[in-house]
Amino acid sequence: MSAARMPQRIRSGWSRLALSITGVLAVALGSPWLAAAPPQTRTARNLEPSYLTPVELKFSPDGARLYVVCEGSDALLAVDARARRVIGRVRVGHKPRDVAVSPDGKTLYVSNEWSDTVSEIDAASLKIRRTLQTGWGPIGLTTDRTGAILYVANSIGDDVSLIDLRRGVEIKRLAAWRSPHYVALSRDARRVYVSNLLPHLGPYDQPPVSELTVIDTAKQAVAARVLIPGVIELRHIAEAPGKPASYLLVPFLRPKNLNPLIQVAQGWFLTHGMAVVRLPAGAAFPETHPQVTQVLLDDLDSYYAGPNGAVFTPDGRYAFVTSSEANVVSVIDTTRLERFLRRKKDADLSNRLDSAAEFVVRRLRTGLNPAAVAVSPDGQSAFIANRLDDTLTVVNVRRLEVQSVLRLGGPKEISALRRGEQLFHDAHFCFQGQFACGTCHPDDHLDGVAWNLETPQLGRDRVANRTLRGIAETAPYKWNGHNPDIETQCGPRTAKFLFHSEGFDAGQLKDLVAFVKSIPLPPNRHLAADGQLTPAQERGKAVFFRKKCETCHPPATHYTAKYGTDVGSATKFDTAGLFDIPQLDRVYQTAPYLHNGEALTLEEIWTLYNLEDKHGVTSDMTKEQLNDLIEYLKTL
């Protein structure tokens, strides 16, 4: 066994032991909550080399420095942009995701997704000045033009915190929609744009609709919700410079989830592109809606999965869009793009695979899993953060070629988990590169839509996507429970039914499975730090056990009894009536619910889809009891 795989073996042993102790204690003390505590046994991750995992980068206003957010090492790096070397490092909170630079360049703000904080850092000394509290799961952030207010997208809270930077306190929270991720201040500073990773919750048999939230910075209120139909996973937001009638580019994924997945073999199943959002100049939202055009970045026979980072050059001539799962950055000639859009003004471009050839002038190879991209203020270079090989790709903008690769440091050794994560985000294993595992499991989670995975028949056996967080001990897998382990789930079955390709070899599969098993659960925001339940949660816990919910959702095994059961959720479109009992860990983050995603909220599971009392005898419950039960479920 190689040294790289040693941690995995160690992890397994300790994991089992810890789980056993937890379980025994739980039984001994009769405490369902104790038994329910997520096993803190991610020792494989704990023993991993500390990879940097750069996810985001921003320039200082003078272009001298580049600040790089390293998600995997809880650090922010300062890079000398001219010398192209790391010159400083500061440790921040847990799982940092983005950085904002104050207008004067003297202060940096780093969002810490798992700490629910923002680290305020002195840019000169790279010392932490203070830590600001945010909502749940902060990711994207920006200051306003004066540097007085910080806007922070809270991915778990589904809202945006506005923080008064003079006092260091949150002054209000604005509702985004679902999993707001990326934030951008408009060039005129009148608006803040927020992209929502997950689509609106809607009927499971209808195409998804995603939202770009627009905040009026003068009113500090939501001015508009720009709806983008048929797409999910809105990512970075780039605004074209220097024109009165400006436009935004927002990368997205366009799934054909209502069609049988077998169509992957014909191509055009998952397509990848960007929304071109034209904002009415000076118009009052929401009375005047912006014009949204969707264009694809894919070619006819080759796809560019994982569109993610987006940026314009300062002169607006080019835009760069990274494809995280294709390891490519596409260079868009904006003059050609605008000409193309004018020419095709009345055409529906959202499903056309022949568009990109009109305006994509280069496809440049990047490092592994390119995420954010930034262009230097002088417009000479574009820097791309390659998340899974700890490098920055530097592109010469004048020549449109890769100039160099900057190694940020971090371990040289590539562990099994790291290899597995790289495979997880590699679309090359899929026919024509249409998607990777991470395409439908963004942030190792879910994409919020139901898929026609199981049969080749249109409209039959649709199943909601399920999270990959904390699933190591929740076998069997799939809604029909047919996959006894993750090896089966990710192995030949994935190759045959999902990727329509040869799939992973044995060694790759082992690494991939190790990675998937290591995906941790995020902190529970509904549970107090000391584990103390609120009165409503206590009442809900009593309901949970009085109603015998633990029969199918036993606390000791992540609230799944690990078999299939009929809760009356099958419809006439389902071949089978038995479905795998899902684990309930962090259930508040896994909407929609039931096997087909028909229940959009936890309440609907019982109010709309348990009419025969098959999903627990709940028809005698009062509304108060149901509310309490749901409050308890959120603590799991």
Partner: protein, 377 residues
């Protein structure tokens, strides 16, 4: 001869009052003589207007057939379930001053209008206790909804729904009609249950009920709430009093004493009151026989209502000693059955059974209304 003299005198007084009507407008209580009405004839989806809420320069009006947005003196939009609204019957609107989001009480649940998009919360899809929602209010990050089955509270940050009803609050009846948010407390109008006071910091309840427990007789005039059938409640931020409208009179409580009013011995137009509002030294009562306002410093009442015969406005001023003056104005409220009202600066917006009325305050002249008495009771 004497009769002619008296007649001439009356004509002179009437003419003088007509000239001076605007002059009466600026002192307390104000007189509103200029009304603009919004009905089906000029774009309202329904004449039955159930609520009105001022949102800066915008006005939201709930009707039996949708939600109306008025700005710059025009009906800008009419929202119906086709636009995403939870139900066509809109009974209450509250604006979150911090976020700008608009919360809408309907007969089909609660809607949030934000950035041009509706999001709905119903008994089936959320923790809302009942879909018949009569009123909604925003208190920091909490949204409160008064429903037929009790009060629901949504924590907009955590998504937690709480229910307060006869099971866990001192309600004789769960049927809640109105909400008023004060600084440290929230007041609820409960139909048949009086007024409930909720202490925000302590999380405890205090009920206010009718001490004589008589349905229609007021035995103890100022010893408590006038009646337990409370249709709405308002908090006056200036005097810190709360006011409760009942179907049997108007009650106010200043923390020590009750101040109750009946139509029999005051200028209140009717004891059947649908809603109340209060600010400064004024309390307004939306009755089934007109819109009454009391200046409780001067003890002067003014009632506005349309004259069914002429279509012109009738203004009844009742001064101290119940001296009554009657004026008329060329414009009037859309109807004398008043359902709800709100302030927009010095202007008022009034929801009636036959349209929405906008009363404009004219600032240029001032006289005290009770100086011009025509007769007395």
């Amino acid at each position: 001869m004497e009769g002619n003299k008296r007649r001439s005198f009356r004509v002179l007084v009437a003419a003088w009052l007509l000239v001076c009507v605007p002059a009466l407008a600026a002192q307390h209580p104000h007189l509103y003589t200029k009304w603009e009405n919004y009905t089906r004839a000029n774009g309202m989806p329904d004449d039955k207007v159930l609520c009105v809420t001022v949102d800066g320069q915008r006005v939201w009006a709930g009707t039996e057939s949708g939600l109306v947005l008025i700005a710059e003196g025009k009906i800008q939009r009419v929202f119906t379930p086709q636009d995403g609204l939870a139900h066509r019957v809109v009974t209450g609107v509250a604006v979150d001053r911090r976020t700008g989001d608009v919360w809408i009480a309907t007969f089909g649940g609660l809607s949030r209008y934000s950035g041009g998009v509706f999001q709905n919360f119903t008994n089936m899809t959320s923790g809302l206790v009942n879909d018949i929602v009569y009123a909604v209010a925003v208190q920091n990050e909490y949204v409160w909804a008064a429903t037929t089955a009790g009060i629901s509270r949504l924590n907009t940050r955590t998504g937690e729904w709480s229910i307060f009803s006869d099971r866990n609050a001192p309600m004789h009846e769960p049927w809640s009609y109105g909400i008023a948010v004060a600084e440290k407390k929230i007041y609820f109008a409960v139909w048949g249950g009086g007024v409930l006071e909720y202490d925000i910091a302590g999380g405890y309840w205090k009920p206010y009920t009718d001490p004589d427990e008589e349905m229609e007789i007021v035995l103890f005039r100022n010893q408590g709430l006038i009646h337990v059938i409370v249709s709405s409640v308002a908090f006056n931020p200036d005097t810190k009093m709360f006011w409760a409208s009942t179907y049997f009179g108007l009650s106010g409580y200043d923390g020590r004493n009750w101040h109750n009013y009946l139509s029999t011995d005051s200028g209140l137009a009717s004891d059947f009151i649908n809603a109340t509002q209060s600010r400064g030294d004024e309390v307004w009562a939306c009755t089934d026989k007109g819109l009454s306002v009391l200046n409780y410093k001067t003890n002067a009442w003014v009632t506005y209502r349309p004259d069914a015969g002429t279509g012109r406005g009738e203004i009844i001023i009742t001064g101290p000693g119940n001296k009554v003056s009657r004026l008329d104005s060329p414009d009037s409220l859309a109807h004398n059955y008043i359902v709800n009202m709100d302030f927009q600066g010095e202007d008022i917006w009034v929801a009636t059974a036959k349209g929405l009325s906008h009363g404009t305050y004219e600032t240029h002249k001032e006289r005290k209304p009770h100086e011009h008495t025509e007769n007395s009771r």
